[in-house]
């Protein structure tokens, strides 16, 4: 998102494809295959250790990398349900030409589309499904005392034969009650003038509502003077979002105390529309019956006319 020109020492490092990287401490070897993406603090590469594919994040900001590693470690302590990618290795690497030290960590490679691409490919029906899955994961995360922070479609990958949304890039994950570490303006309630940047569950839930909006407006939009009014217009003018208007507003206004609460409301709202469909079907049936009657009537009239005609002749 941010096209920043960095003139400071924190230029992200660029590594040629095919380079082999060996860790300074643990001596494990990785071959760089291709670049997967760029974050605020470093570059993520697809790499190969022996025959297994892994994702490697590498940066010259040792400190920022370490705090991400700390979060990933915490996540793996409470696994069972994988909240983020598994952490496989943490090490340093000395660039042979630049003679500079880079820090890197290696994670499990999660293969899949990012959320927006997935929705574009598979259709709007998946919006609520993905949101429900996301809320389930967030609830677990919040219960462990964390807030994800930089929640956005780019940080969500849909993986597996049975589509399951996964959280990647834990750089913004913050201990509950502290100040949010990293955020993206469109998904940040501070930017929209609708709340603080304190790490609390409602911060993430605001972002969830914005993700739902983003899934319906893939292009995003910039804030005008009155952000709240602008969001109101965007929601009520979209047929899909309108259905969930009440829930979206509760999330945007920080009225949900937990992700689970929002999840329950969504499930309930999902079940309602089926009643409306039946009603519509009833209406259609009535219309059909009316047509049938008219058709019979016209037929009879026609036959009567023919009968009269024959009689007169």
């Amino acid at each position: 998102m941010m096209v920043m020109t960095m003139y400071t020492s924190n230029n992200p490092c660029s590594i040629r494809i095919g380079t082999t990287i060996q860790g300074k401490w643990h001596k494990r070897r990785y071959e760089i295959i291709k670049q997967l993406g760029k974050g605020a603090n470093g570059v993520v590469y697809l790499a190969k250790e022996g025959r297994t594919f892994v994702a490697m994040k590498i940066s010259n900001q040792a400190a920022a990398m370490m705090s991400e590693v700390n979060v990933l470690k915490r996540f793996s302590e409470v696994q069972g349900v994988a909240l983020g990618p598994c952490l496989l290795d943490v090490d340093d690497w000395v660039h042979p030409q630049e003679k500079k030290m880079y820090s890197f960590y290696v994670m499990e490679y999660i293969e899949g589309d990012d959320l927006l691409t997935f929705i574009q490919k598979r259709g709007k029906d998946w919006i609520v499904v993905m949101t429900l899955q996301l809320l389930g994961d967030l609830h677990k995360l919040h219960e462990k005392g964390w807030v994800f922070g930089d929640l956005k479609p780019e940080n969500l990958i849909v993986a597996g034969a049975v589509p399951k949304v996964r959280l990647i890039d834990v750089g913004g994950t913050t201990i509950r009650g502290r100040a949010i570490k990293e955020f993206t303006e469109f998904f940040d309630r501070g930017y929209w003038g609708m709340g603080t940047r304190k790490a609390e569950p409602s911060y993430d839930l605001f972002a969830v509502a914005m993700i739902m909006i983003n899934m319906c407006y893939p292009k995003r939009f910039e804030r005008k003077e009155n952000g709240r009014e602008q969001l109101r217009r965007m929601i009520s003018s979209h047929s899909y979002l309108k259905k969930y208007e009440k829930i979206l507003w509760r999330a945007l206004d920080g009225k949900y105390a937990s992700a689970d609460e929002m999840r329950k409301d969504l499930v309930q709202c999902m079940q309602q529309p089926s009643a409306r469909v039946e009603k519509r079907r009833g209406k259609a049936a009535r219309k059909f019956r009316l047509l049938e009657t008219m058709f019979l009537f016209v037929c009879l009239l026609f036959m009567y006319v023919v009968y009269l005609y024959v009689q007169i002749l």
Binding site: V3, T8, A62, V69, N70, D92, A179, I180, E185, Y191
Partner: protein, 247 residues
């Protein structure tokens, strides 16, 4: 428990100084007094010339801070990021110094094995969350900045949203240069809340000269004043410890 205070100067400018002392020397002076100087260069569509760029980098380098050049649109996000990064950098400097005292002159966070480094970083983060922070913001209001002042205002409001989410206390002060009469004008005195800035900002007029050096010198004096005032109020200046940087 004694709480530390981090002191920063944040300079928002779009080009070269042309009046008064050398800003790079003034930034070095700030560093000597334990004050970090960060610089954000604001671009329009046009590019900052080579000389301006070198000055921006130079000020941040000799001021022990961070510099970044961005388009006006990204200013809000950059201001908060630069401020936070500079905080972390300063705190790391402090911890590095402690490590050197314990482990000898060659020790630093980077030299620790990754496992130990993780533990140190947790301490740095904890400190970054709870430490008190004083930021003095210097806004360049010379001619070419006129169109960008609205964006600068929004970025500063955004900065206070970010920092006020922390557990530690914050104090902000805003100065503009060139001032109406002198080289520098105070727009906002030390306050934990930035909201009042909205009413002052539209009144700013832009002048011709760009006295970046004198502005930094004036900012240093403001910190001095604040410090002596505080020690007067508390009778012993010792309960307010300033964290000084050594990288």
């Amino acid at each position: 428990m004694r709480k530390g205070t981090l002191r920063q100067i944040l300079l928002i400018t779009d080009g070269c100084s042309n009046h008064g002392e050398d800003p790079i020397a003034m930034a070095a002076l700030a560093k000597e007094q334990g004050i970090t100087v960060n610089v954000i260069g604001v671009l329009d569509q046009d590019v900052i010339d080579e000389q301006g760029l070198r000055e921006i980098e130079g000020i941040a380098q000799s001021g022990g801070g961070i510099s970044q050049v961005v388009y006006a649109k990204q200013l809000a996000q950059t201001v908060q990021m630069v401020t936070r990064k500079a905080m972390t950098q300063t705190l790391q400097g402090v911890i590095n110094r402690e490590l050197k005292q314990i482990l000898g002159s060659r020790a630093s966070i980077e030299e620790l094995p990754p496992e130990k480094r993780g533990e140190v970083m947790e301490v740095v983060e904890e400190l970054g969350e709870t430490v008190n922070l004083q930021v003095l913001i210097l806004v360049d209001t010379s001619g070419s900045m006129k169109m960008k002042l609205q964006t600068v205002k929004e970025a500063l409001l955004d900065l206070s949203i970010s920092l006020n989410a922390r557990l530690g206390n914050n104090e902000f002060s805003v100065f503009a240069f060139p001032g109406k009469k002198g080289e520098v004008d105070r727009i906002l005195d030390w306050t934990p809340k930035m909201e009042s800035i909205s009413s002052v900002f539209p009144k700013l007029t832009s002048g011709g000269i760009t006295p970046t050096g004198p502005a930094i010198r004036e900012a240093l004096q403001q910190f001095q004043k604040k410090r002596s005032l505080k020690s007067l109020l508390t009778h012993d200046g010792d309960d307010d410890v300033y964290i000084e940087q050594s990288m």
